[in-house]
Amino acid sequence: VDIALSDLILFAHPTCGVLATLAGVWVIVEALNATEANQARTRRAAFAVATLLCLAWILGGYWYVTYYGDEKAIILKGPWPLAHSVFMETKEHLFFIPLILGLYLPIVAARNLARDRAARAMVVTVAGLIALNALAIEGAGAIINHGAKVALAAAAAVAPK
């Protein structure tokens, strides 16, 4: 199987997003059951959220800057131009919300969550917002992918055989 670097990056980007979402849910579970015993694990999970979101940002950003221009032109000529003009435009800016929250999560998770009710509430809130935002972003990514797919199918249908 010959896999291009652009495809590897394209697949790694949402993979990091999904793993960050799962790690966010993991943080919520740990925080809701916070004891002295699971503090280190909660902090590791919060750090994993931040790291995975930064990786998703770097990988997605590199792909967006390097390869997306051609795909954008294809999508805009196809039957689903909204895949770019609404979903990509929203997604690329929406991403900064979970990124900032992801950078904040390890800071507040560093508190003693077993004793600090305020920090525990903040950790659950922030991790929940990250998971919800990330799910919306994954959905938008699927629509953008479909926009490119239907555009290519439409172009193939009118191309001379």
Partner: protein
């Protein structure tokens, strides 16, 4: 076992910074989309306006967080969590409406 209801130091400072930056990020997206010279100015910083936008958000979050954390002011934890949630939801709705309707 003591139960703290306030946040202070880095947890409060960076929490307040997160509120400001997520709202700033959406406002910057609106301005970049509506005012072409601003988008060009952002693009001139790194070669791509979106890269500049993200880096601006992160630098602002770190700088503002450090400044606010040094003030060591305590914040009501539940109120700050509500503000973070409100800011994130408002910022997200602002982006969706802007790109879907404007």
């Amino acid at each position: 076992v003591t139960t703290r209801l306030t946040l202070d130091g880095a947890a409060a400072g960076f929490g307040q910074a997160a509120c400001v930056v997520v709202l700033f990020s959406t406002a910057l997206a609106w301005v970049e989309d509506a005012v072409e010279p601003v988008e060009h100015a952002m693009a001139s910083l790194t070669g791509n306006h979106w890269v500049s936008h993200g880096l601006t958000d992160v630098v602002l979050f770190v700088a503002l967080g450090l400044i606010l954390a040094r003030r060591r002011a305590a914040a009501d934890g539940a109120a700050l969590a509500r503000r973070v949630a409100g800011a994130a939801v408002a910022a997200a709705i602002g982006l969706v409406f802007w790109f879907a309707l404007v």
